[in-house]
């Protein structure tokens, strides 16, 4: 019995590590700010169709007419394919509207960063672009989120 007790004690840190990894798996809370929702509209400047997260770069239009460079994180290429988006869906120069959440790190180097929640194409179609489900935190904006 004594040995089993020690084994359990030895495993505690590992168990803690395990549960912490589950928390960190969805990188959202580590890198993005659920209290900083953003809506970005502008022309696509670059698309990185890469694992583990795709990035869509755009020049978001400001109210004063200037633009600010943003890069928006999506799920994996595979996740996006399932959500109905592929590399040809967002050609360079096309107008898109993205809703998402800004990164906690707001220094905007080399571009302002956000985690994408959903994406509206030029023709008005929409698709989710997050990594799991909508990829969005439960903030009430998605009635289907459980």
């Amino acid at each position: 019995m004594g040995h089993i007790k020690y084994l359990l004690i030895a495993c505690l840190p590992l168990a803690a590590l395990g549960s912490w990894q589950v928390w960190a798996h969805h990188a959202f809370s580590a890198e993005f700010d659920a209290n900083a929702p953003v809506t970005l509209e502008g022309k696509v400047t670059k698309v990185e169709w890469i694992n583990p997260h795709a990035w869509i770069h755009l020049d978001a239009e400001q109210e004063d007419g200037t633009t600010v460079a943003w890069m928006v994180e999506g799920g994996t290429p595979n996740t996006l394919l399932r959500a109905g988006i592929n590399k040809r869906s967002v050609p360079i120069g096309s107008e898109i509207k993205v809703r998402g959440y800004q990164a906690k790190d707001k220094n905007c180097k080399p571009a302002c960063k956000a985690n994408g929640r959903d994406l509206m194409f030029e023709d008005g179609r929409t698709a989710f672009m997050g990594s799991s489900g909508t990829g969005a935190p439960k903030d009430g904006s998605d009635p289907r989120a459980r």
Partner: protein, 190 residues
Amino acid sequence: MLNQWIYEFALWVDGSQWSTMLHESYYMYNWVEATHVLSLTFSLGLLFLIDLRVLGYALPNVSAVEVANRLHWPMLLGFSVMIITGLLLFYAIPVRSAQSIWFRVKLLLLVCAAINALLFHKALRRAAGGWSDGLPAPRALRRGAGYSLLFWTLVVICGRFIAYDWFDCVKEPHPLMATLAGCVAGQEVF
């Protein structure tokens, strides 16, 4: 200088077509990454069992040498899958990985773990003749088992943190951090 060489090597790897294909793949990257993580749970699970047995915390009724001998080959099989998939993950994302402080610390820890494993293996061979299983393991063995648990736990933690971009070169981190991470002044690929 060293950082410049590493960056140029990573750029060279990054320029290969297969690297880009894996990086942009719809299925293969996911399979490689999932296999990497699963094989690590397999082989580290076996390794930790050996370590805990040597320390006297697991399987007290089975001889430590027997536990080590039986688990040796399945564990090495798991390790080889882990190393191959790990190399593929680096191959897919060479520049960012080579300039990740977590990846660099992880590699150093892997070297420590490998040296420790060699010493542990030698000590186990030496002890096998003269050490009766009812007694606590010789000190060299227990120390090796402890270091093994420590190094590999830190390797997994560092591996997990590679995913986060806090110290990425593209964010121009603190100069000291930038040097440790291997950022190169004026680099154009990240």
